[in-house]
């Protein structure tokens, strides 16, 4: 069976890169003694895939990894086994069964991601810059220089900027039912196209604005948190939200 695990990555783990987090999660599964399926072949490895790598420097309330297991666990049991063995900064929030098959992989499904940005103390914008940002995001066309594998290219990011809000309302941070809810209040909220289609990183948006506005480049201006990662269900479920958090595609295991 395939299980999607949702976890937060906070605190000092922001400095740990994706490859090291993968190794960390494998060790966590071993310490928790979870019965993970190994691949066939001479050097077997755990069958697992990560939905959406997080850049160094960012925190997250909602990371996803899909893991194949040899036996059934209840969601509650799995979450508590993992949290018993989890390192500081990593908190497992949920675990749900998801259907097998390539099209159902977290990695394939990622279409949108939410981010909360906060100014590092001493790096704040004054109110005129905030005003400028409000009108900047409303432009019908926003050209940005994207660095890809094939070099730099200019793209219009406006259609992929789903939301951009200054001083957003405090947001409830994902948490499991029996824990006190936490709230996060940032200075800026961005909801962006993500994943294998068009991936827009929050720093690309902010760097492009800074350049358009003529601000000095400042790589340390924002602390960035990823709030949630969504799949795009398109017209599949008329009347409901088109974008669904990846965990919402799984079924709770009893």
């Amino acid at each position: 069976m395939r299980v999607r695990i949702q976890y937060s990555k906070q605190g000092l783990l922001k400095f740990i890169g994706h490859l090291d987090m993968m190794r960390c999660f494998q060790k966590l599964l071993r310490r928790a003694d979870v019965d993970v399926t190994f691949s066939e072949g001479y050097s077997p490895h755990m069958v697992m895939s990560y939905a959406f790598p997080l850049g160094v420097g960012m925190t997250s309330d909602s990371e996803y990894v899909d893991v194949d297991l040899n036996r059934a666990y209840s969601s509650r049991e799995l979450v508590s086994l993992l949290n018993e063995a989890a390192p500081e900064g990593l908190h497992v929030l949920d675990a749900r069964e998801v259907p097998l098959g390539k099209g159902n992989k977290g990695m394939t499904l990622v279409a949108r991601a939410d981010y909360t940005l906060s100014f590092r103390p001493g790096h704040e914008w004054d109110s005129s810059v905030q005003e400028a940002f409000r009108s900047w995001v409303k432009q019908p066309v926003i050209y940005a220089v994207k660095k890809g594998k094939k070099g730099e290219k200019e793209v219009d990011i406006a259609p992929f900027l789903y939301e951009a809000v200054i001083s957003p309302e405090p947001k409830r941070v994902c948490g499991i039912a029996d824990e006190e809810p936490e709230f996060r209040k940032g200075d800026l909220f961005l909801s962006l196209s993500a994943g294998s289609g068009t991936n827009i990183r929050p720093d690309l948006v902010m760097d492009t604005f800074a350049k358009d506005r003529g601000l000095l480049p400042d790589p340390y201006r924002f602390m960035i948190n990823r709030d949630e990662v969504y799949a795009d269900l398109g017209g599949e479920r008329p009347g409901s939200d088109r974008f669904v958090p990846l965990i919402g595609l799984g079924t709770t295991m009893e």
Partner: protein
Amino acid sequence: MNQKSASSYKLALPEEILLQVEKPERYLGNELNVVRKDKSTIDIRFCMAFPDVYEIGMSHLGIQILYSMFNRRTDTWCERVYSPWADLDHIMRRKKIPLFALESQDPVKVFDFLGITLQYELCYTNVLQLLDLAGIPLHAKERLDAPLGSMPIVIGGGPCAYNPEPIADFFDLFYIGEGETVYDELLDLYKACRKAGTSRREFLYRAGQIEGIYAPAFYTPVYHDDGTLASFSPDPAYPGLPRRIRKQAVANLDEAPYIDKPIVPYMRVTQDRVVLEVMRGCIRGCRFCQAGMIYRPNRHKSAEVLKKQANQLLRESGQDEISLSSLSTSDYPCLPELVNYLIGQYGQRQVNISLPSLRIDAFSLDVMSKVQDVSKSSLTFAPEAGSQRLRNVINKGLTEEDILHGAGEAFKGGWNKVKLYFMLGQPTETEEDRKDIAHLAEKIAEEYYEIPKEERNGKCSISISTSFFVPKPFTPFQWAVMYDPGDYLGFASTVNHEVKDMKNHKSIRYNWHEAYVTVLEGLLARGDRRVGAAIEEAYRQGALFDAWSEYWDWDRWVSAMEKTGVDLAFYTRRQRTEDELLPWDFIDCGVTKKFLLDEWHRALDGIVTPNCRENCNACGAMKYKCGICYDEVDGKKVLRI
């Protein structure tokens, strides 16, 4: 101790710096299983340092053992520090950020002890870097009359502490031998002295009277006109200090403290696995090998204890590999039992078992085929010398027949990669001995190509690595002469040319080590107290991370030696006489100078000495009253003298 609640402490480095430097993971102190304690309940803060970069230091077993051992004490909090890499080093100097311990992120200067492990001589400039960045005066003399507790007691340990003289000026104390024995006594003494308001000088004087602890400030070397040592003795104003410092050894490894919860790094480190120490010391007695002498007598843990420790290490870490570590794991008497247990217990769970330092025989090939991917792994032989004559000189028991037979068996088992390790520049070595390195590789290749084409696995690949021999204190070769860098490169060139003349030269690759580094290592290994000035001067001129080729600069050292009047040839090119008082003779490492001298003579005569299990050779280590000296082999005590 609960690490999940400790996330609120303040980092020593601001985020802007952490995001700028290469691999910020090195400086966070947030690894799994780190120990955090409430400072207000602690009497002794001990900072354990490895004077090299994090990923090297984190791979060191000794620190992990001592970390667990110290942290079992409720009055002590042991933390870690490693050399900041060059990028952070510059930032710390520029921004005046003091060196900090990882766990608490507190400055090292506020600690009670700074323990520095000395694993290789090339880290000496990094020792000075640690002191300098911490804001601790480099010279122990300048610290001697500081109030006790105002800055750490700087204590060195590890194999290089067996000749501490080149760095004696920078240390308050050295711990000679295995840390498990008298550290408690030292910490208790410190605590009592702090309570009583004793001076730092008095504390060091009293520490110097604990067996195994050397307090260099109270000892004075006197030299002859020719530069050799005339005498070395404790200052008569400080009665009670021993003339000779006795090495510490654990009598019973089963009962000695081991790692409770291994620290698991986030970043990939050199030893990315849990390490199970199965044995200490070696029965073999290779004449170039310092570890083989100073860790005598050979002692091993019981299979029962090791099984328990293996289970605990794997459970607490979640690592997927366990290494069975010792100087010669093939000589561990319960190896089959232990390996079979681990395969049975963990094979299904895909835990790798790594067996370094195995001799190649039927058993090891069988084990390796179970625990490794044959098509990817390579076989390693360390004949150390190309000819049988020279292997007899160095007392390396391995014969050509062993190697060819082992390789032949392995080739039949599907292996096709062989690594061979040799040393060049050993005593009595001739041009012929060097050429025989190439000949041996050729014979191995021929062994492979004798297998019918359809049964073998493509071409074979044989790689030869040579290092240049550095005579070390407390070995039978401690009297040996070294060569000039140009000579060493000539030796390597002989091997290289001979390899190219071999029939199967396309299957053989050859690489050799740096010659200038070797000479520096030779100076630092057998230096006396006067060499310290050159180390300090080289550091002042920018020497750091000397073991790293990207930072290595021989010219800096040449200039430092010139400026401080240290004569390289005196230490490396001079034939030491047998009656010379050597700078490290004041240390009693168990093995006697008489035994070493006998072995030196036997080496020059090409006579092999049997290993400890075959016959006792009265090396002197028996006075530790434990281990192989008292073991039974085939129902009989080995003791035969």
